[in-house]
């Protein structure tokens, strides 16, 4: 049996009296694309924040490639191969698109405690960054300051930053959020191409995208996993249909 890239064991998160993650356990195997769907406020982002190390769970454990990372800070988890995108675009606004990505390349390309020599002139870093931008069709916007990119381009840049980290596990929090139909389609195409290269946890409201991409789907409501399984199974689950999919698929 291969070791799961990600394993959650009995994860729980309370905000005061509010239970936002309620006994969540799941495994993601290498190369698998696991989608998490659920209504607004179900606790999807909170779950991703705990996995990536931005929020401490109240209880439960998180394993990356078999190692318990529950107590590790976000940067250490990134070093172990975890990358993420944010629901609300999170880039470096006054850095060029290329430098946004080059900084992610730099994180795994030798020491960053170098004080002499221009970083933006390092050809090797720039070449890798450019390759990641090409993957998301953003190469021709490399020199544009991130703040000046369109919303869809910023979403693509988020993805490029994550790709440049050469992750083993990629967490995507609504990568299509707020993009137009065409840009959304393009992002689905990109994800389709990336599928299998590394494991992915995809949170997405666009059901067409989810059913096109996912190997497994978990349905989250009120912080609890209501159902989990292959797409066909989940789609047919009566509990899921009444709780969530009924309205979404209309």
């Amino acid at each position: 049996m291969t070791e799961p890239v990600l394993r959650l064991e009995g994860l729980r998160k309370n905000f005061g009296g509010l239970v936002v993650t309620d006994d969540v356990s799941l495994d993601i195997k290498p190369g698998e694309l696991h989608a998490i769907i659920g209504p607004n406020g179900a606790g999807k982002t909170t779950l991703i924040n705990q996995i990536s190390g931005l929020l401490d769970p109240t209880a439960g454990r998180i394993f990356l490639n078999g190692a318990d990372v529950t107590a590790l800070p976000a940067n250490k988890r990134a070093e172990l191969g975890l990358a993420r995108s944010f629901q609300i675009t999170s880039v470096l606004p006054r850095f060029s698109a290329l430098e946004n990505v080059a900084l992610a390349v730099q994180a795994r390309a030798g020491s960053s405690y170098r004080f002499i020599g221009r970083a933006d002139g390092e050809a090797a870093l720039n070449a890798d960054a450019m390759a990641a931008l090409k993957e998301v069709s953003l190469a021709d916007r490399a020199d544009v300051m991130a703040a000046h990119l369109s919303h869809g381009e910023k979403r693509a840049l988020e993805l490029a930053i994550a790709l440049a980290m050469q992750p083993k596990l990629l967490l995507l929090d609504e990568p299509m959020a707020g993009t137009g139909h065409e840009e959304g389609e393009r992002l689905v195409g990109v994800l389709q191409r990336l599928k299998g290269r590394f494991a992915m946890l995809l949170v997405e409201h666009d059901m067409n995208a989810v059913f096109a991409l996912a190997d497994r789907i978990s349905v989250l409501t009120y912080g609890r996993i209501l159902a989990s399984g292959p797409p066909a199974e989940v789609r047919a689950d009566p509990k899921v249909v009444t709780a969530y999919l009924g309205e979404e698929l209309e």
């Binding site: 999170s90 880039v91 060029s96 730099q106 221009r118 970083a119 020199d143």
Partner: protein, 333 residues
């Protein structure tokens, strides 16, 4: 604003960019002693030495504040520590700079490391308040050093020497040593800002969460920058004690820290050479106004507020927009 760092990627020799404004600034500073020879020489040399000494501290502050978003309200503490290193060692007959300079730099760096470890756990306003608190702490410690003059401070009996040579004794020579220190600090900070380290440090100001999630320990990078800025502040203090031949707790009062922030804003934050312009403008204006009327603070205060509020890029920004109005066609550099 940050002209240094948002330029397109370059490689090789062209990476060494020669910019007109900093070159001009250092040229003027290098010529001051020559011009001073035609006037009240000691006065001019003294005034501009003071300008450069504060410019060193201000540019270190700009390094962490303008590039890292770390608004320290306790930066004068490092200047004070550097100055006291000279004063206290001098009181025990140790004047050689091979001892006093490393002590000045080392102790201020250590103070930055220890206080930074605490301060950098906090953000924004809390960071400002806690750096202020540490600054006040060291201020009161200095004031309580009875053997070294307490609140009154102490006189530095002799300027620092190098292997017994009275290197700093001549005002002109001392002037150029301070100029060299300023140039060195400026070049170092410039290099740091655009280096790999600097890119992470700048990124953390833009979006610390993003920097953490791509694998950087933001705290460590910020602490290193804080220590660098502290050590450069210590250098400024070392030179200040030699320039004034006196040290006092007043060097590290919160007003001094505030003045350093104003110098940075005044000249143009996030440019490094803006801090030099700011220190010069601040001290020269203060000097001129104080000569005109004893109520100079009534004029000086509002003037600072106006410039800081309305010229967002400080004096450098003001100059730049003037240049653009006068020569609208040209978009260099």
């Amino acid at each position: 604003m940050t002209t240094l760092v948002h330029t397109p990627a370059r490689t090789g020799l062209s990476a060494i960019r020669v910019e007109a404004v900093p070159v001009l600034i250092f040229l003027v500073l290098a010529l001051v002693p020559i011009a001073a020879a035609f006037g009240p020489e000691t006065y001019w040399l003294g005034l501009f030495t003071r300008v450069m000494v504060f410019a060193i501290a201000a540019l270190a502050l700009d390094f962490i504040c303008g590039y890292g978003g770390l608004v320290s309200f306790g930066h004068a503490a490092f200047v004070g520590i550097g100055a006291y290193a000279v004063g206290i060692l001098g009181a025990h007959g140790v004047t050689d700079l091979l001892i006093s300079l490393p002590v000045a730099l080392g102790v201020s760096a250590l103070f930055a490391f220890l206080t930074g470890t605490v301060c950098l756990r906090t953000k924004s306003v809390y960071f400002i308040m806690i750096t202020l608190a540490f600054g006040q702490m060291i201020y009161f410690v200095a004031g309580s050093l009875a053997p070294y003059g307490g609140d009154d401070g102490l006189t530095v009996r002799a300027r620092s020497t190098l292997l017994g040579l009275p290197l700093f004794a001549n005002d002109r020579v001392f002037y150029y040593i301070v100029l060299g220190s300023l140039l060195g600090s400026y070049m170092l900070c410039r290099a740091f800002v655009v280096s790999r380290f600097g890119r992470v440090f700048r990124g953390a100001r833009e979006n610390a969460t993003r920097i953490a999630t791509i694998g950087y320990d933001v705290f460590r990078y910020q602490r290193i920058a804080y220590v660098i800025a502290g050590a450069i502040g210590g250098l400024s203090g070392f030179l200040l004690a030699n320039a004034t031949e006196f040290v006092s707790p007043a060097y590290m009062s919160w007003q001094r820290s505030g003045e350093l922030i104003i110098m940075v804003l005044f000249g143009g934050i996030g440019t490094l050479h803006g801090a030099i312009v700011g220190a010069a403008a601040y001290l020269l204006l203060e000097d001129t106004l104080a000569g005109v009327t004893e109520h100079w603070k009534l004029i000086f205060g509002p003037m600072l507020v106006l410039i800081v509020l309305f010229a967002r890029g400080g004096l450098l920004g003001l100059g730049e927009s003037l240049r653009r109005k006068l020569f609208p066609g040209r978009s260099d550099p």
